[in-house]
């Protein structure tokens, strides 16, 4: 029998290698674009790329949690918008102080997530349908609440700072990292920690791996599932804050279609739609790959229709390369 400890070591270094290699796809893109255009590898452009990743990145983190449980969340985009709208309602119409507005976004997200979780866990509605329904409901509600007009945050000084200010830049002027990106990293860090180190995270993987086995082990599966959807919802609330702050407004019609980008980032990052396996780091890299591709092709002034074609092709190639290295399992 092989020595157990050797086995473990191979396993860990194998996993680390995997991440490093997905990262390598990203690096390859960065190098390629840098060589192709001098305008690409510049601080402002790098910050633009990161800023462009922030919203999709946060949504993708939310989607990752749900996908690891073996579910799917189609409502992330419209939930983001709905949270932005609710923040607008309390801040601009209600005139409450900023922190309460932040709370409104997170609370709305968590509540809606809890509702989705209830549909999935208690009512046994397939996640695809439950979150599709929620997506449509929220899409309509955002329009109804706002009357179809954006809510502007002009009366809330400091609101744009949430995403566009730069705490890091104040300390390190050479690194004008927008707060939006800082928030993405914080959210991702927290989600990583939860997945790796807490009971909630453990049940994410367990549910995705074999829900029936978890149930047979005497775990209250429904409650944990609802908690996970609620957490994902709250994270969508963060995305709502970010996008509202970036646009200085809550745009009620925005959001549909964003779920596809978020899920794409998750899957490119190596998380399996079948559930049970996945990492937040992978998701971040997936989201960055999408942003870098989009930005780089634009910087190269590629015609928009060709941008689409090339993006499609590169996504396939990137995942294939990743697949080859993993040795074709799964």
């Amino acid at each position: 029998m092989p020595n157990p400890s050797t086995e473990t070591r191979t396993l860990i270094s194998g996993a680390a290698q995997q991440k490093l290699l997905a990262f390598a796809s990203l690096i390859a893109l960065l190098i390629g674009f840098s060589l192709a255009s001098p305008n690409f590898m510049q601080t402002t452009n790098m910050m633009s790329i990161l800023q462009a990743t922030s919203v999709n990145g946060v949504l993708a983190v939310a989607a990752t949690l749900v996908i690891i449980t073996g579910g799917i969340d189609l409502s992330v985009g419209t939930l983001m918008t709905f949270c932005a709208v609710m923040t607008g309602v309390v801040l601009t119409w209600g005139g409450v102080p900023l922190p309460l507005g932040v709370l409104a976004a997170l609370g709305t997200g968590a509540l809606v997530g809890l509702a989705s979780g209830t549909f999935v866990a208690k009512m046994k509605i397939p996640p695809f349908i439950a979150t599709l329904g929620v997506m449509l409901i929220l899409k309509g509600l955002s329009l109804i609440v706002t009357g179809g007009r954006p809510i502007y945050f002009n009366d809330t000084p400091g609101f744009t700072e949430i995403s566009q200010g730069s705490l890091v830049g104040k300390i390190l002027p050479a690194l004008p990292l927008p707060n939006g990106v800082l928030i993405l990293f914080l959210v991702a860090g927290a989600a990583s920690y939860i997945l790796a180190r807490t009971v909630l995270g453990r049940y994410c993987f367990a549910l995705g791996s074999n829900e029936e086995a978890v149930r047979l082990s005497g775990v209250n599966v429904d409650r944990w599932k609802m908690a996970i959807y609620a957490l994902a919802g709250a994270i969508c609330g963060v995305a709502g804050l970010l996008i509202a702050s970036r646009l200085n407004s809550a745009q009620p019609a925005l959001g549909q279609g964003y779920e596809l980008d978020a899920i794409a980032a998750v899957v490119i990052g190596g998380t399996s739609l079948a559930g049970g396996r996945g990492t937040i780091l992978g998701t971040l890299i997936g989201a960055l790959i999408i942003s870098v591709l989009t930005n780089g092709l634009r910087i190269l002034s590629v015609a928009p229709e060709w941008q689409t074609v090339i993006t499609g092709a590169i996504i396939i190639v990137a995942v294939y390369a990743d697949q080859l290295r993993r040795g074709g399992t799964r």
Binding site: N39, F40, Q42, T44, N45, S48, Q51, A52, V55, L143, G148, R149, P150, Y152, N154, T160, Q164, I243, R246, L247, N248, S249, Q251, P252, A253, L254, G255, Q256, G257, T294, N295, R298, I299, S301, A303, P304, E305, Q307
Partner: protein, 291 residues
Amino acid sequence: AAQERPYIPLISKGFQHQFWQAVKAGADKAAAEFNVEVTFEGPDNETQVDRQIDMLAAALAKKPAAIGFAALDSQAAIPLLRQARSAGIPVVAFDSGVESDIPVATASTDNIAAAALAADKMAELIGGSGKVALVVHDQTSRTGIDRRDGFVNRIREAHPDIQIVAVEYGGGDHLRSTEITKTLLQANPDLKGIFGANEGSAVGVVNGVREMKANVVIVGYDSGRAQTDAIRSGLMAGAITQNPVGIGYETVKAALAASRGETVEAKIDTGFYWYDAKNIDDPEISAVLYD
């Protein structure tokens, strides 16, 4: 070597639809004429405000001579527009305006006035009374709102005997607009007229009316082969056309002038026209129509 020709990116509200392709054609025409390099792009649909902002950021990173910009939401773009101003990059607004003093010029159609003209024509064609409905492409975009409100308000103010029974939104998708039209006709058998507020909506209305074999007055917006055919065949009474080619052309022209420090006219009205079976072949009209 690449920097020889001035570079002017146009960030529009879309690029897949025919209207935008016509704007692009005008821009390309100006590009060839004035020897500038022009790129043209926009998000997939008119809700994606943040995507457009990302495009604007990428365009700025390329250090262009000037920028053409059709804002989905003026306010959201203001930080980047300020950045452009401080970098000395002039901005020309096109399609609908940008609510800001930063753009040096605006090349646009007055959509509210154009839709009001459509309303007057509709009133005339249905004899001043009866039920009408609207199929609009979008509930929240500037053009969608302006054309809807321009039409609806004009009817309310000037044609009190006309009743607007429905405003539906089809995303400018031909098929969805077709289905919407059919249900409108089903729900309102006595409907006298339908206004389709952009190319996809108008063509959808034509299809729907044709499939239902209904007899209603159709007023459209923009052009394209399907609309011009429908007008020639009498199925569509007439339509408003803007001058998208002119918009693209004038935008590039003004942007180039501004980049050279010349003063440009602040408001470039590219105009709009009513066309129907009678005047469709007039040179003045056929010049602004596109297939």
